[in-house]
Amino acid sequence: MAEQGGAGSTLGPLEAEVMAVLWHSGKPLPVREVAAEIAVRGVLAEFGDAALARFVERAELDPRLRERLRRLMEQQ
């Protein structure tokens, strides 16, 4: 499967969005579900950060940050 819209991707924005949904799903999806998924993401993107408190933004986690979170998880 293609890269997910990374800087080196040759996909356009919509294609990258479709591929990101399919990649994340891990299974074949009908067009309607892909469209609904993109609509959700589009709304969150349109909102930006003006009046919306999001639990956490997805990001490429720094390995050290990931390790710190893992250590915290183990402190059960």
Partner: protein, 285 residues
Amino acid sequence: MRGKLGLPARLSCWGLLLLAVLAHAALAVLAVAEFATMGWPLPTWFDTGAVTLVLATAAAGLAASTLVAAQAAAGARALRALIRAGSRPVPSFIQNEAAVLGCAARLDVVAGEDAFAVTYGVIRPRILVSTGLTTALTTAEIGAVLAHEREHLRRRDPLRLLAGRLFAAWACYLPAARWLAGRAALCHELAADRAAAGRAGRAVLAGALLKLASRPACPAIAAASPTGDGPRSLEARVTQLEAGRPPRQRPAVSRLLASAGTLALLVPASLCCAAMSQFLSGGVL
């Protein structure tokens, strides 16, 4: 784990910022009146430059804050439409968790593989979670996420975020204003994390953060957050979880110097603009 500023201090800060914006807007109206009465240029080039600076910065602030308000209004409309179209019944285990937290009546679930939880609504805030969240996290982790969002709900954080962004947009010519708005947003997240950790435990909250933040960034949302504050914000939240207290946040010296330089021009210009009003009928000085 507690924040540093008390409620009176925070209210005073917001009051001062609001006063500064109102004063700037009033001076801009005065500047328009001065140009309308005396024409352009004014008697001296200094007066012309000062009054033009006041008017230009206010016009830039008004345009930028109108853009932020329009973006928030459009986002709110789109979100309401999305909820109408994609609303799903709240699963019973989430309903139970929300009932324990006292926010069951203000919780919506929308269909979506993408796992997310947000608090939205400036006047009547509500929590929105996706069906993807229910499959991505354990029940305990969902409890932590709901406790986090409930704190946003209780503090009316969407309204605070909007106020902060509007202020930063108005003062777009001051580099420190954007930092202040970002700091305020991070403080809201840290406060919500303290509530969630107190309720569900640090380990459970860390698990939810790790699972949701590790998912690949969505291109559309990444494009909407050009500042790239996400990773820095997450680092501060992890530091708070480890240390039990919020990390110290300081603006870059260059940002402070640039803001001080701009203010050093704008304050005398504002005084000059106010002084010029003596040439108007009923001038303020």
